[in-house]
């Protein structure tokens, strides 16, 4: 596979985000496929961060660990990210006293790195620019190194800074000087294959796609308390609220948020809330209330490594057990995991449908690497997923209702639901154990039946939700993987790569984790001899779940729990060892 990997590094406030955005958009518009990720390491002083962009003429679904080009906007970035460069990689920087850095010299020699140094600060000053504009000089240099056309880059810079016309002129001069510099080593180092077409795609992150999916399927109220990496859903929905008309409310805490969402859902609109693991912990009593009162409820957990504050800006798949087992008592729930922006857009709509049709809480798991990484998707298909509400709405039917229809004991566990006020048949939504009309009961001949009715819904739901999906060959793969969430992306890239080398790999992906579908899983395990579970946690939470729900064993596990996603190279390395 042809893939080029860039890393732009610098301190916060150096315009990293805009440089990343300019590069990504210019590449996207040229027809390349892109994966863009932002890392915010909290261990480096000065709020240091980096933007990584993988691009290719082929579709990309995951990130690489090793980098072809590092563009260092400052000294710290230069030192910190030197080690991520592949042998023979290119380092573009503007640090004047680099000749004093002994380690740099050693590394360059040892690993045959190519240094591209531009006196970026002086160039920026010479046009009347500030130190911030060194980023434009280095961006111009990057384009030269990549051997890409200058015009597309220039257009993108113009678009990015259209609201600052005075500075734009200086920016453009810096950009051009960077591109045309005659410094030693400043030349085209790459031969990038050019895309043949420019398909209509969106460059979008998971949170944005999830928010759009929520708007699309009629979520009219959104409640949240800021918590990384879920916060951008709140920001986006608030910024889009004039377009959507949605009520977006930042509550005083997560308990408030969960209860407001539940109150809105109970009243008959569609409501959504999102948080991360710690915030969800505070909401769990409310999830239990949703289970007891059979009120639809949808909550998004944007996972980051715990326990406690953990690694707030890094990624994880460690809250599956939280989603599965949180909240006191026993009740039916659904757990769904998104894996990319398209699935964010689709699955949030399915989550709403399941919550409303079955009157249950639905937990949607996302991950920092899905939530904040930008990737290319086809424009989402609109009105593809029907809106299913499971509500009694016809006036003739509403008139005929009895209060006891609301929690009527039924075969499938699902009773009728209607919007408060819409029928003379009122009901009590009761957190205490209750009988069919919601009146509290502690009677021996009633409480067990009602308890069972609520849990019976699980069987009905199991019949409704789809089986896990198989990627790659169905049978007899040299090595097979099972996973959920972002595990999918890395295998989507590896399967074709391995196939071209004659290695057959397949992957079973769970979008729906609870109730767990086992038919395809059993078949997959029968048909394939070498099964491994790939998960971003320590304990193998999916592996454990599958073992609990079947008689199968999953001793072969690849677990990663250092805050980073599964990178292409390390999974390839693992495969090499295991086949």
């Amino acid at each position: 596979m042809n893939r080029t990997v860039l890393k732009i590094t610098g301190e916060s406030g150096m315009g990293l985000a805009s440089v990343g955005s300019i590069i990504a958009k210019a590449l996207k518009r040229a027809g390349f496929s892109i994966q863009l990720d932002r890392e915010y390491p909290s261990l480096i002083k000065g709020g240091h961060s980096n933007v990584q962009i993988d691009f290719s003429i082929e579709a990309l679904h995951c990130l690489s660990k090793e980098v072809d080009i590092v563009v260092a906007l400052d000294r710290v970035g230069l030192l910190e990210y030197l080690k991520t460069l592949k042998e023979g990689g290119v380092l573009i920087h503007g640090y004047e006293r680099h000749h004093l850095m002994k380690d740099l010299e050693k590394q360059v020699k040892k690993r045959k790195l190519k240094l591209v140094y531009l006196s970026a600060r002086q160039i920026a000053y010479s046009f009347g620019g500030s130190v911030l504009m060194t980023n434009m000089v280095l961006l111009g240099a990057l384009w030269k190194v990549l051997g890409l056309g200058f015009k597309a880059l220039e257009e993108q810079v113009k678009e990015e800074y259209a609201d600052k016309p005075n500075l734009l002129q200086i920016d453009l001069k810096c950009l051009k000087a960077g591109f045309e510099s005659k410094e030693p080593g400043h030349q085209t180092h790459f031969r990038i294959p050019q895309p043949k077409q420019k398909p209509r795609k969106l460059l979008i992150n998971g949170n944005e796609a999830l928010a759009l999916g929520a708007i699309h399927c009629g979520v009219r109220t959104y409640y949240a308390y800021p918590m990384s990496p879920s916060s951008s859903i709140l920001t986006d929905l608030a910024n889009w609220s004039h377009e959507s008309g949605m009520i977006v409310k930042q509550g005083e805490d997560e308990i408030t948020v969960a209860n407001m969402a539940l109150g809105s859902m109970f009243m008959g609109t569609r409501a959504l809330a999102a948080t991360s693991g710690g915030g969800y912990d505070l909401m769990t009593e409310t999830i239990s209330l949703a289970g007891m009162t059979e009120t639809p409820f949808v909550i998004v957990i944007a996972q980051r490594p715990g326990p406690a504050t953990g690694l707030p800006t890094w990624t994880a798949q460690s809250d599956l057990n939280l989603a599965l087992y949180s909240s006191h008592g026993e009740f039916a729930r659904v757990v769904i995991a998104v894996s990319d922006p398209t699935s964010c857009f689709d699955l949030i709509q399915h989550a709403m449908n399941l919550a409303e049709e079955f009157q249950i809480p639905v937990v949607v798991l996302t991950e920092k690497v899905i939530a904040e990484s930008e990737t290319m998707i086809d424009p989402p298909q609109l009105k593809k997923i029907p809106i299913k509400r499971g509500l009694v709405t016809l006036p003739t039917e509403l008139k005929k209702l009895q209060s006891s229809d609301r929690f009527k004991i039924t075969k499938d566990g699902v009773s009728m639901r209607w919007i408060p006020g819409s029928s003379p048949a009122f009901y009590f939504s009761n957190g205490d154990e209750h009988w069919e009309d919601g009146v509290l009961t502690e009677r021996e001949d009633q409480v067990g039946i009602m308890y069972d009715k609520r849990i019976k819904k699980l069987k009905t739901i199991t019949k409704t939700i789809p089986e896990p999906r198989i990627f790659g060959t169905k049978k007899n793969a040299n090595i097979s993987f099972i996973g959920w969430g972002s595990s999918k992306g890395v295998l989507q890239d590896i399967i074709p790569l391995a196939k071209s080398k004659g290695i057959s790999i397949n992957y079973l992906h769970f979008d729906y984790l609870w109730p767990l579908k086992t038919k395809t899983l059993r078949q997959f395990c029968t048909d394939n001899p070498n099964i491994h579970v790939l998960e971003g946690n320590h304990t193998g939470q999916l592996a454990q779940l599958m073992e609990k729900e079947t008689d199968l064993k999953f001793p072969q596990r690849f677990n990663k729990f250092n805050g980073r996603p599964f990178f292409l190279e390390e999974v390839l390395e693992y495969i090499k060892k295991e086949i």
Partner: protein, 305 residues
């Protein structure tokens, strides 16, 4: 009991609308102790709803946990009986979704001033349009008489055998410090006054907060019915009282020992409630409940092309 003023007009209306009143009457057996203030509160609420012409399909009643919450299935109508301390977020989420229904939230002093005191603060700030009835019986009745944040200092209670050590808070003073749009105080000994206050609260366009000083015959021996009757006075008897003056209200609310003022202590009719503050919904006349359906997102997706 000379201060109790029956309102003949209201009584006449109630008789005329007895059928409306009966729609709320439940056959369920009430589980409160004999003499409990909750009987009077429920009675006054039914009266107020009747007099305001609010029927079963026009409202939602939200209940917290505790003795007050045990009335949730003992009054006919749509009700939600949620978690301890969380009645305000449930009720505010509900009213945001469908402001066409009148939302009434009820909670005790334990829920309001301990478990969920943060929600009270933010509900007042946000001015969510609803009636909030605080059942203040100065103890945790349902868990057998532990101290609450309003139990007087020094009173021996369950789990405080040597007397309560913390200082009590004054609910009305706390709420007034947050610039509410409506605050009233009433007393379970006077059903007619409660009815009048609930009616005023139901008419209010924002967050109508009503502290009901409630008798607890079983556990609150410090402030029984007679204790209140010896101390309560009606603010309407003070002809000079200006209920739009927050400083006057703060003064009127302060005394909980000798002269306890009942009535609408403060009202700010100019305050704009939460829903009317939403800039993005100024041109929208429907409610979120009526709006569920597909929304076109093509203008938003353009930014990602």
């Amino acid at each position: 009991m000379s201060c109790c003023q029956p309102n003949p007009k209201a009584l006449k209306l109630l008789v005329e609308h007895s059928e409306d009143y009966e729609q709320f009457e439940s056959e369920e057996v009430l589980t409160w102790c004999t003499g409990c203030g909750n009987f009077g509160i429920q009675n006054a609420l039914k009266r107020a709803l009747t007099l305001e012409g609010i029927g079963i399909q026009d409202m939602l009643m939200c209940f917290d946990i505790g003795c007050s919450g045990n009335g949730s299935d003992k009054i006919q109508g749509y009700t939600f009986h949620g978690l301890h301390g969380r009645v305000l977020p449930i009720a505010s989420g509900a009213v945001i979704a469908n402001p066409k229904l009148k939302v009434i939230a009820s909670a005790g002093d334990g829920a309001t001033f301990s478990e969920g005191v943060n929600h009270l603060i933010h509900a007042v700030r946000n001015d969510y349009p609803m009636l909030f009835i605080i059942h203040n019986n100065m103890n945790y009745g349902l868990t057998t008489g532990q101290a609450s944040a309003t139990t007087p200092n020094g009173v021996p209670m369950n789990a405080s055998p040597d007397g309560v050590t913390a200082d009590p808070l004054n609910p009305c003073e706390l709420i007034l410090s947050l610039n509410p749009s409506f605050l009233a105080r009433t007393f379970t000994g006077d059903v007619e006054h409660m009815t009048e206050m609930f009616q005023a609260g139901l008419q209010h366009k924002g967050f109508a907060c009503i502290e009901v000083m409630q008798i607890c015959t079983t556990y609150n021996h410090a402030t029984p019915q007679e204790w209140y009757w010896e101390r309560v006075q009606y603010i309407r008897d003070n002809k000079k009282y200006d209920r739009t003056d927050i400083w006057a209200a703060k003064k009127a609310a302060a005394d909980m020992e000798n002269n306890i003022n009942l009535g609408i202590l403060f009202e700010d009719q100019k305050k704009v409630n939460f829903l009317n503050r939403l800039e993005n919904r100024k041109q929208i006349n429907t409610t979120p409940v009526e709006e569920v359906g597909y929304y076109d997102i093509s203008r938003l997706t353009k930014a990602f092309e």
